[in-house]
């Protein structure tokens, strides 16, 4: 239902209220999500069948060592107390200690995190910069069944690129550009040119998906009656597209774009392993294989927080772009 009657207070107050309510609601949801994430990360370790310390140290480790390590990790305390300790630790930035290296998990993450953030950030920026103009252009070119060949080429090309998973693309890129052509380093993070292939591997798929979605959304918006209204106002085409079509197509795309960004954060895990990138992705896989659970727990937590942060940004962006979303959302 729309608010048909004039609001009683001044407009500014109402807008402020709507935004305040939005912020409060969104913050509430964030806190619940964070709590779920923390608890999940905590329980993850406790759901593992058997003794995680025994699993980590191997069958040959002496019983006393296992017992001492269990004691040190607090695994012998009642579950609720472990949970309380865990939460208290988190408040102080204590993510636990690695079972293998004995280093604080937070230190490892601190060292590895920047590389991953760089990778995901660059890849997302690249994907967005390419896909938004491309999607819009394709929609405009192929609207109302125009230019069938262009449409076919674009849709089939983007399907293929969207399907190829990032790690396979990474392998392909390594083969072509490093093995055959020798233009780029095979692995590691040294110098600007070492960024090219990992970023490309991470960005191409999401860019293809995003461009496809944006095209479809734009085609939908082009059918909207308010676009007909804009045409009835006899605005020149560029103004119709930039003022009336793009903002509405973007609002519909942003949600999916956010999901893609989350996927990209996760995609770093695979790409980092192909390129031996010194980020969190390599750390988590290594830790899972080595059964170094405190590290796994910490990294999962960081990844999860990253995803929640992305979702928050998406909602804020939506609220800014679409004035209805602050009110509509319940």
């Amino acid at each position: 239902m729309t608010s048909a009657t004039a609001p009683s207070g001044p407009l500014a107050a109402l807008a402020g209220n709507a935004w305040l309510r939005f912020a409060a609601r969104r913050l509430g949801r964030l806190l619940v999500s964070v709590w779920v994430l923390l608890t999940f990360a905590f329980l993850m370790i406790h759901l593992i069948p058997g003794d995680p310390v025994r699993a980590a140290l191997g069958v040959s480790a002496p019983a006393e060592l296992v017992e001492a390590r269990r004691e040190a990790l607090g695994l012998n305390d009642p579950l609720w107390q472990q949970y309380a300790d865990y939460l208290r630790g988190l408040l102080h930035g204590d993510l636990g200690t690695s079972m293998l290296t004995g280093l604080p998990v937070s230190q490892t993450i601190g060292e590895r995190l920047p590389a991953t953030v760089e990778l995901a950030g660059l890849a997302f920026a690249g994907a967005a910069l390419v896909s938004v103009p491309l999607g819009l252009l394709m929609a405009v070119l192929t609207r109302g069944g125009r230019r069938r060949p262009v449409e076919l080429a674009f849709t089939s090309g983007s399907v293929v690129l969207a399907v190829v998973p990032e790690f396979l693309l990474a392998v392909g890129l390594v083969y072509v550009f490093s093995v055959e052509l020798g233009w780029a380093p095979v692995a590691m993070r040294q110098g600007a040119d070492s960024y090219v292939l990992p970023v490309l591997a991470l960005a191409v798929g999401p860019a293809a998906i995003l461009a496809r979605i944006l095209r479809v959304e734009t085609l939908g918006v082009l059918q909207a009656e308010y676009v007909r209204t804009a045409r009835a106002k006899r605005l020149p085409d560029p103004k119709v597209y930039l003022r009336h079509v793009l903002p509405n197509a973007l609002t519909a795309t942003i949600t999916l774009g956010g999901l893609l960004l989350s996927t990209m954060v996760a995609g770093t895990v695979l790409v980092e392993n192909v390129f031996a990138w010194p980020g969190l992705g390599g750390t988590i896989v290594g830790s899972i294989l080595a059964k170094d659970y405190p590290v796994v727990q910490g990294v999962v937590l960081v990844y999860g927080l990253g995803v929640l942060l992305v979702n928050l940004l998406v909602d804020v962006a939506l609220a800014l772009l679409d004035p209805r979303s602050t009110i509509r959302e319940s």
């Binding site: 999500s33 069944g145 399907v163 392998v171 093995v179 209204t229 988590i284 004035p323």
Partner: protein, 655 residues
């Protein structure tokens, strides 16, 4: 019934057919390869360790001298089987979670929805990694991990789809009829969401395949001595300088199989969705009634349209919903076009305003507005002329404003574009125009968004937008249909007021003959893409000569309708614009129709007073003086002749 035809239709498209063939090949290989090449894939040859690709070993050999190509082929079985298992798990868990809100009731359902909502935000691979920790590295763990990781998005999809179906009236009707929740789900909801679920499960299987390859590649999936594509790829990557084929061939296998699932799903989704229609073929010339001599347009004529046609490409050649409409609007005149859905009235309005989009085609012998020929004018002239002198008002004010921009900005845009006004001046004009259409507190309202306006207010703001320039003509397409009666009256009053104050001509399109009669000077009645009658609104009830006009008037009950007699009705159903009958389009429903009517289409002919009618039997009702007593004569005629027909055979006509 039709669903089978639709699925077959999908397979007949090139994309659908090749995707299906590819998918079939992958599945076949998955079954046969382990049987055919299982032994070869296990055969170790210590003399042939880590060899590059050659004629004997297409993809080279691995560290134990096994043929990698054979291993890739055999791995199809494991890869596809595990992917399908994970998909089945995801679908099953997703269905349970997704239909839970429907079965559990409001409160518990909302909780499940919220949980799914949070889980969906987490990328699958991240969930899979976490689950891999819990379930341990290995094929079983990976199936569980990928299955559960895929469940939230499937649950979300199921929720969205079922919620949409559950809100439809047939589900409400089933509940009223006493059908239980589980039966409603099984009989009404699931069959109606089945297709999208199957499509998405197929696409999901492709995703699971790729995810599985990813996990195995990381060493978290299939463990040695077992192997799948991901594992082979991981092993191959280590030696990519020595033997690229060892990495590239399993990679290609993953991509091809993933594509097969994906493409098939997409093709099915597209095929079962809205059909896009055939390509446009040039319009065939149909025999048309002999045109009247083209008279020079008198100077007070604002809009002069002759032989306007609008056509769209259809499956079996072009469809022409507007078939030769001729009309004029004089300065300050209010002309109404009335007709049922499919009569072409709205398309006529859009065509006049040059708003028909491709693939629609507009043709006319003449389309003059303010003395300029709209058919030949350049885009700049057109923009300036129509931008300032022609205003449009559309049916649904809720969707006709851009939801993301403020009302004032949307109005001001016109002044900035066409009047060269600055930002401030344009805004002032917008506020002024909002006041002119009686928007209270216009200055404040101008800063609001469309959703903050009520329906009637939006429609008035839409009219205000038309007044930003100095319009000579307002084309209003069903401007009151979406509004409540009391609000309707305000909009109609506003239009009348504008006309009186500013001398604007109005072309009002409506299905409601009462609205037209109330507001207009002249009425054009449209049926099946043609004007069938054109007469002064004041004479509508006394001098209408076309049987359709008369039937339309009689069929609508008003506050004086006799409650004790059946309503006169028009038998049959409106003509299909895709296949207009050869003769008079109304003939199949007309009580006066004879053989002549069924074979030859009557031309729209004018009488001395400028009234026009297209009917072979129009003289049955003329001259008007014979109808001294208002509607009774024709009303009685229609009742006598048609109500009989309806009571006995009406419904069959409608078939």
């Amino acid at each position: 019934m039709t669903w089978r035809a639709r699925w077959l239709g999908v397979l007949r498209t090139p994309v659908g057919a090749s995707a299906a063939a590819l998918l079939g090949a992958v599945l076949l290989l998955a079954v046969l390869a382990p049987v055919l090449w299982g032994a070869r894939a296990e055969a170790m040859d210590t003399a042939q360790i880590l060899r590059p690709a050659s004629g004997a070993h297409w993809a080279g050999t691995d560290g134990l001298g096994r043929d990698i190509f054979a291993r890739v082929l055999v791995a199809t079985g494991t890869s596809v089987r595990l992917a399908l298992a994970a998909t089945a798990l995801a679908v099953a868990a997703g269905l349970v979670l997704g239909t839970a809100p429907l079965l559990l009731g409001v409160r518990l359902g909302r909780l499940v929805t919220a949980v799914v909502h949070i889980a969906v935000a987490f990328p699958g691979i991240l969930l899979a990694l976490s689950f891999a920790v819990v379930f341990g590295a290995g094929a079983r763990g990976a199936v569980l991990a990928i299955g559960f990781a895929g469940a939230p998005s499937f649950a979300r999809l199921t929720q969205t789809l079922t919620a949409a179906v559950a809100n439809r009236d047939f589900v409400a009707a089933a509940r009223i009829a006493g059908v239980g929740r589980v039966r409603v789900l099984l009989r009404h909801v699931l069959p109606n969401v089945g297709e999208p679920l199957v499509v998405n499960a197929t696409i999901g299987a492709g995703g699971a395949l790729l995810a599985f390859a990813g996990l195995s590649f990381l060493g978290l999936g299939v463990q040695p001595p077992g192997y799948d594509w991901g594992r082979l790829l991981g092993e191959g990557l280590n030696g990519i300088y020595l033997n690229p084929a060892a990495a590239l061939i399993p990679g290609a296998a993953v991509v091809v199989a993933g594509l097969a699932f994906n493409m098939f799903g997409e093709a099915v989704a597209k095929g079962l969705g809205v059909p896009t229609g055939g390509t446009f073929r040039s319009l065939g010339r149909r025999a048309e009634p002999a045109p009247a001599a083209v008279a020079p347009a008198p100077s007070d004529v604002l809009l002069n349209v002759e032989e306007l046609r609008v056509s769209f490409p259809g499956k079996d050649g072009p469809v022409t919903p507007v078939r030769g409409v001729s009309l004029t609007v004089r300065r300050g005149e209010t002309v109404g076009i009335v007709g049922e859905s499919g009569s072409g009235k709205s398309l006529t309005a859009l065509a006049i305003a040059q708003l028909i989009e491709q693939p629609g085609r507009v043709g006319a012998r003449r389309l003059d507005f303010l003395g300029a020929d709209l058919l030949t004018a350049g885009p700049r002239t057109l923009r300036r002329l129509l931008g300032t002198s022609l205003a449009m008002v559309f049916q649904d004010p809720a969707t006709s404003f851009n939801p993301t921009r403020r009302i004032g900005t949307q109005l001001a845009e016109v002044a900035r574009e066409h009047l060269g006004a600055g930002r401030r001046a344009a805004h002032e004009r917008a506020v002024d125009r909002l006041q002119a259409v009686h928007i209270p507190a216009a200055r404040r309202r101008a800063r609001q968004f469309p959703h903050e306006f009520s329906g009637g207010m939006r429609q008035r703001a839409m009219i205000g937008m038309g007044l930003m320039g100095s319009p000579q003509l307002i084309i209003a397409d069903e401007p009151t249909t979406a509004l409540d009666v009391t609000v309707q009256q305000r909009v109609l009053r506003l239009l009348a007021e504008l006309r009186a104050a500013e001398g604007v001509a109005i072309l009002l399109i409506s299905h409601d003959i009462g609205v037209i009669e109330q507001v207009c000077d002249r009425v054009l009645v449209m049926y099946a893409g043609r004007i069938v009658e054109d007469l002064p609104a004041a004479e509508l009830r006394s001098a209408a000569r076309h049987p359709y006009t008369r039937a339309l008037l009689a069929a609508v009950p008003d506050l004086a309708t006799d409650r004790d007699r059946p309503l006169p009705v028009i038998p049959g159903r409106p003509a299909d614009p895709a296949a207009p009958p050869p003769g008079c389009a109304f003939a199949p429903r007309c009580p006066l129709a004879d053989d002549h009517c069924l074979t030859e289409d009557p031309a729209l002919v004018s009488d001395d007073a400028g009234r026009r009618v297209a009917c072979w039997h129009a003289d049955r009702y003329s001259p008007p003086s014979a109808f001294a007593l208002h509607t009774n004569t024709h009303g009685a005629y229609l009742c006598a002749e048609q109500s009989e027909a309806v009571v006995t055979a009406g419904p069959e006509h409608e078939a």
